[in-house]
Symmetry: C2
Subunit: 440 residues, 2 copies
């Protein structure tokens, strides 16, 4: 059965509205889930370890009675190393290569993103600057069950360690008591300091407030289910959080010179994530679009996750004929996709026109899947048009800045008069007097 | 009547608990306000301009019937320039000096925070990097009425313009139809592109969703009342937002060698903001603390905002005797204050020990009020211990990054094998095939 994938043409009347309809996605806000998360958070805040233990046994369906202590749910470094040692050699080597490359990229990022801070001196001796410091302690949420991705452990933990975070605490639920050895192996490679097998809103609460066993962290990162997302929104401000991620997206701009099978498989690689994932192709060549459609239908049946792919492509996918590559870039800026592949000859000319994208994959060899695992840049990227204002997870997410102001005696004479004038204008007389007391 | 300001000693039993009690602050979460904000947002999303006009007339008590068009509430550039021209010369000059200094600091910050991005080439020709781009359009919320601060217009708008934001749209309510000329003058100096006299949750909704008259922005920054804060929380994800600010705080570490009047006035300058503001002194010298207390009582009566100061210092202030300056730094890291003054000889030795603070004011001439107006660094700073994980508002808040991945043909051979191995491990076969199709 062939896929009824939507086809649009930018020359058609009403194209922009049709495209907007395809892109439209609103995360369902479930009041019941939000309330449940709030209740669990309040309980964890009030009762600490005991509450976390009870919820963990109930929601993760662990056997028997809750353990007497949350410490029983900590996985020690020896167990992590054992998980790593138990992997088949090829897989262990692949994980290590991926970790090494992610580490190298983020080291470079650290060097390039102003991590040393700055300080400069003005003519009157006043010094101004900025100090950059890592967060002290970070929590990483790793989902259990089917969406447990070892690559995400690397992508969340390595930038934190590169930033200089002293303690990275990972939480990962074990539904029905099942451990994911690949996830534990990834924690070992990434240098995670402590691992607790807890999850859900109760794990978010434990990290945000701290309990007798679990230390309070300064920021919580990593994806989770609707309860985890609701809990993260609620603890925002007590701790930092990363973005609330929406469904994954790929936008491919192709000039019609890439093997259509490659493009079809790239669209599949996003669609297989889940039914809400979005895969869109922009191309100025109608004949080429037909070839990609033929490849999609040819290749689909062999995919183990073909039903997910079919639903995703049917419900949220699109093959879009555009006027030319310039228009493709303009549309790409409006879409602000999480992943943007520019599969074209001399892709840089088009990349230069892109203002909004989580990650850009340039040239026909840069399949998005390479970025997901091992190219080096982070695979935690802004979704749902948030690339308009936010960035890939990075070293900078695990650092913060402090302004540094050292006013000289001479500087206080000139600055004091300016500050006093403005403070009186705002009706803040103590501000003004505080400046004026330093005047000769 | 002397102030009953709390005095603590770090050597006393239970000191840490007492300090925690002083620091404890929980923003009241008012369910009714949150619901009202949600209703207004939904209405603005559905009915656009008409809803914004109705709410504006109702909540800001504007005279007569709502205007036929929201365009009537736009203040043009000529009116902004006229407001600037109407200021007394000394005040205009002070505002311009402050703007110039804020501009200069943020230009330096832009240069130092990795704004050029980076790109590097690996041995096999694969290129990896990061592109940095400004946000397209930003909304700045400026409160009307008593908390209308022209300095905040400068501090929010200038970093956006330095970052390269093409359009800065300011909203400022005019309760009872009253315009604040100093705020409009600051908008003129800061280069704000458009100004609308709207406020509240309706202004946040207009900026987040866009209306016929008001274009959708990519991020909303600036402080507001509880309705504004609730609305910003709710539109987070559709647009970016800055931090939700808590009450302002100052922490002074003093070695006992600064004029006690200066320190008393510095504590006042924070306390006068509002009754919930927090002013704390840490000092190893008990005799000096007594002198500061005497100065507080001597100076209070002359302050026009003395009742606010008295309430703030009584309810939330503290004079803390510490063992030594090292312990003061350790306590300062636990407090993670918005403003930290280190009023001491050779302050740098102590500043080096500080990990968490929004801004550090070093040496006895660096009063916090200079930083509020004209030192150059931003006065929008993390409050309520959020300096543990967040930063002053800066150029980086108006930029975002995109990863750049250009894998060479040779690179695709090595990376493809690694990615495929890991993708099979995660059960994502289309990811694996997408990488394998690029293998020779």
């Amino acid at each position: 059965m062939s896929i009824a994938i939507r086809k649009l043409d930018s020359a058609d009347a009403g194209f922009r509205d049709k495209l907007s309809a395809v892109l439209a996605f609103e995360a369902s806000e479930d009041e019941a889930i939000d309330r449940a998360a709030a209740t669990i958070l309040a309980d964890v805040k009030a009762r600490g370890d005991a509450a976390v233990l009870e919820y963990t046994w109930r929601f993760d369906r662990l056997p028997g009675q809750p353990a007497a202590s949350l410490a029983a749910l900590e996985i020690g470094q020896e167990a992590l190393q054992a998980a790593l040692a138990s992997l088949p050699e090829a897989r262990r080597a692949a994980l290590q290569t991926a970790a090494d490359r992610v580490h190298a990229y983020h080291e470079r990022q650290k060097k390039e993103c102003g991590s040393d801070g700055f300080l400069y001196t003005e003519a009157d001796g006043t010094e101004l600057g900025q100090k950059v410091t890592p967060l002290d302690r970070v929590g990483i949420y790793v989902p259990g069950g089917k969406a447990a991705y070892p690559s995400s452990v690397l992508m969340n933990a390595i930038p934190a360690k590169v930033a200089g975070v002293q303690e990275v605490i990972m939480v990962v639920p074990t539904p029905d008591g099942v451990h994911n050895e690949l996830v534990l192996a990834a924690a070992a490679i990434a240098g995670v300091d402590r691992v607790f097998t807890i999850g859900g809103a109760q794990a978010v609460g434990a990290l945000a407030y701290g309990t007798a066993t679990i230390p309070q962290v300064d920021k919580i990162v990593g994806p989770g289910n609707a309860y985890v997302a609701a809990a993260k929104r609620r603890v925002f401000g007590i701790v930092g959080i990363d973005m609330i991620a929406g469904p994954s997206e790929i936008l491919v701009i192709c000039d019609g010179t890439t093997d259509p099978d490659w493009i079809a498989m790239d669209l599949f690689s996003q669609a297989e994530h889940d039914e809400l994932a979005q895969s869109i192709l922009l191309c100025p060549d109608a004949a080429y679009i037909a070839k990609v459609e033929a490849s999609i239908n040819k290749l689909l049946d062999a995919m183990p996750r073909k039903e997910v792919i079919r639903t995703s492509l049917t419900d949220r996918g699109a093959l879009v004929k555009v006027r030319d590559m310039d228009e493709a870039c303009e549309i790409a800026n409006a879409i602000a996709a999480e992943h943007l592949e520019i599969s074209a000859e001399e892709p840089q000319q088009w990349a230069d026109k892109i203002r909004h994208a989580g990650a850009m994959f340039l040239g026909r060899y840069s399949s998005e899947s390479l970025g997901d695992y091992c190219a080096g840049p982070n695979h935690v990227l802004p979704t749902s048009r948030t690339a308009r204002f936010s960035s890939p997870l990075g070293v900078y997410d695990f650092q913060k800045r402090s302004s540094v102001i050292r006013v000289s005696e001479a500087g206080a004479q000139t600055l004091g008069r300016v500050a006093a004038e403005l403070a009186y204008g705002e009706g803040l007389q103590a501000h003004a007097r505080s400046a004026e007391l330093r005047l000769k």
